[in-house]
Amino acid sequence: MSTWPIHPLRGGVHPPECKALSNQQPIQSAPLPKQLIVPLLQHLGSTTEARVSVGDYVLKGQLIADSANLISAPVHAPSSGIVSFIGPQPYPHASGQLMDAIVIDTDGLDQWCSLEALPHFYQASAEELLDKIRQAGISGLGGAGFPTVIKLSPAPNQPINTLIINGTECEPYITADDVLMREKAPQLLLGIDILVQILQPENVLIAIEDNKPEAIAAVRGALQSRRYHVIAIPTIYPSGGERQLIEILTGQQVPSAKLPAQLGILCQNVGTAVAVHDAVIEGKPLISRITTLTGQALQKPMNVECLIGTPAIELLEFTGLQKAQMSRLIVGGPMMGFTLPSVDAPIIKTSNCLLAATAEELPAPPAALPCIRCGDCAEVCPANLLPQQLHFYALGDDHPQLQAHNLFDCIECGACAYVCPSSIPLVQYYRAAKADIREQAQKLAKAEHAKERFEFRQERLRLEDERKEAERQARAERLAKSKAEQAKKAAQAQAADPAEASQAQAEDELKRLKIAASMAQVALRKAEKQLDIHNTEELQSQVEQLRMAVEQAKQNLDAAKPAKTVNDGPTDDEIKRLKIAASMAQVALRKAEKQFETHDTDELKVQVEQLREASAQAKQTLDSATAASSTVSAPATTEKAAKAEFSPAEQAQKKAKIEVAMKRAALRKAERNEADAATLTTLQAELTQAEQDLAALN
């Protein structure tokens, strides 16, 4: 085993390690809690959906939630029991927001479902192994909790040459990976074997900070014939940051905003590798993890193997929590961890440490003084930023300068704030500034989108207008042209054939007469209507006069007509018009009938009745017109037939029918409104009368 060259970390700090607090005894197993709170989202990516319902009995290891989305990890029941609730529950997140979770009331039996182990993994294909890892719901156990299977499936053009197994554990206090390596080195190496089988990397580097000599010895001892490099790197925070570790081990820097895969490098946490071992070789899904329980508010700090979903308070009480002493409860370490909003929040796949700190241990920082630009922050920044400048620009909301000073390359490790002599909460400023910039970018994108849509609409309307304008012009031109042509034709006709001209004149005359006749008819109808309403003598005489005028007009018309119409009968045009009228009446009738079918009201019934008659009449008119046009006998009769007035008998019948329907409607209405008996009787009588009238007419 040759020594691997190491590139020292840029910057970094040495906060008190406080690791001896929790790594002095072997891993204990936590007691089975009465209730498990299993959140549906425990990883980076999309949330899962519950695949069980309240009341279901679940076995340990049974799938209880999954997602169709690729960037997700299924969730399994950590113990057997009954699903008692699915909904919002406390959740370990800096925001303090609740998260949907499946609550399982454990039955104490801790009964496993059947597991499919794959002990001879070296015979399996990469696809099989990847599927196994996905089915086991493994997401990164060290940091952000990215679904492992996604990381293990690099793009075909970016093969992984170097697999880095991260056992640095550079955060103070946390010893979960330390004890895991000490106690589970053989499983760790088998897990790495599986990863190697999937990725086929050239180099496998297992990095461990040199403050963990027992872990280094254990892993080296379990290596056997494997050609993996176990590298002890100098203890400095944040050497365990993915990008930092890559530079320490390879001297390469991961390009800004890119993934390590671009360099052919993949990092996995030691805990994740052990979880891969458990998933493949034992078939066990990820339902438990090793968590450090530490801090001076605990009487017996230790590492426990605990079920996912165990409420924090149960673990803290198991290790002797002195509630009065605890001034803050942190998930993770003192550099990058976040305070837990509630002690009821559960352990999830990424919870590597619960730090119950006393006020003496992690005192509240003194009030911040102004920055004196001492530059200590820039000296310790592992990303080689200028934190003091970022602070100034953040104070002034100078987003362009913040971005020019590479704010988004900040990994929020907290080294700058740790060393700041003025106790300025620098990381808070950066988080807020990043959120601000992201929000503004979103707003900008939205506004841009809206603007684009608006401009598109304006353009569309403009084109529409243009098209309409062009059509209007074309129409106007056509009209002018046809007018001119008509005028020309008329002039030609007059010049060429006086006889024809006289015929044209006669036609014009006929047209005029027709109009006069119909106008007289209209005036008469109007007057008649008025007469119906106000029956005065003046009106009566007026109507009489009008009727005469109409007769006169008709006679005039008839006199003018014979010459032309005598042999023609009803013109084709006329028939067409009648046909259209008939079919329209038919359509209206059908519509009304349909409506009637759905809403059986009496008003509708009346309407339908009327329409039916109108339609029948239209048809009749059409038939007679057609007959007339085919026989071409007496023009006067045809004309009359074509006009097809109702006979008085028919009209009376129709009226009676309507009367009956209306009476019926009135009666029904009264019945509906629960009118008194007298009214009902009267209406009934009226209806009977109307029916009798109708029968008499028929």
Binding site: P15, P16, A94, E247, Q253, V254, P255, S256, A257, K258, M326, S327, R328, L329, I330, G332, P334, M335, M336, G337, T339, P341, S342, V343, A357, L362, P365, L369, P370, I372, R373, C374, G375, A378, E379, P382, A383, N384, L385, L386, Q388, Q389, P400, Q401, A404, H405, N406, D409, E412, G414, A415, Y418, V419, C420, P421, S422, S423, V427, Q428, R431
Partner: protein, 343 residues
Amino acid sequence: MTLPRITSPHAKGANRTQRVMLLVIAATVPGILTLSYFFGIGPLLNIVLACAFALLFEAAILALRKRPVGFFLKDGSVLVTGLLLALALPPYSPWWLIAVATGFAVVFGKQLFGGLGQNPFNPAMLGYVVVLVSFPVDMTAWPAAHSVDAIAGLQHVFFGQAFPDAWSQATVLDALKINSSLTIEELWNSSSAFGVFAGYSSEWVNLAFLLGGLFLLHKKLFSWHAPLGMLAALFIMSLLFWNGNGSDSQGSPLFHLLSGATMLGAFFIVTDPVSSATSVQGRLIFGIGVGVLIYIIRAWGGYPDGVAFAVLLMNLCAPTIDYFTRPRTYGHKAAKRGFKAGE
């Protein structure tokens, strides 16, 4: 059970701004002792008066600005300003001279720009320059070593009683500047003001400040870039333009390193983080600029020493230096530099 919600990091290093200021004050002790050895209670009177005035002015203007007086007086920065000003002024400076200098330094140099951390110029140097150009006679009246007794000194400081002529002496920088006839050897023999390499008192005082500066460097209060840049630039300039020991000599490199306010400037003024450039590379450039300017002013300017002017001139350049000396961030191919913020 409600738990406090605090964002990371939760751990906090032990370093505090007050500690930084106290260390600076502690590091001046060798210099103060050496000065007192040569000039009696003069430097101490300067310090007491300057610090008292500085606190007074700071408190008054903080009250006017409606800022918490106690909180900001405790940060110790105004004491450092007063102290450094006191060390730069000639021993036994009249009380009113000290009042004007500290007043200008604290009120105009610092608080009117927004107080701690906001001043573009080094306040002590600003106050120093104001009295230097306003009261040149008093400012060049350095007493000869071991000449002034305490009673006369007190009378001079508080009641304006003049010293006997024999007690005052031109500084060696001054002597070299006005010399046009004597060779260096003759000059050295002509006055008791000269010592081995530079002034009889100034070389020891400079060495004492160097000692204090090395202590601060050891304590990692600042990086080596600015002080070394300044001293190296001054050394190289004086070496390049060293024209021998004739009557037109500009002085040897060692003469320049151990004269005037060189070491005080290098370790206590140029290292002021507020008014200096902020990146490591920027600080190197800042220091070099100060060193070059000091030599130019000493050799060809109108004043015998140029530390204060050089520092103020470079203070003007610091923001620009910052724009052009940003480091290359992790994962970036090249550093983004220049005034423009856009991509």
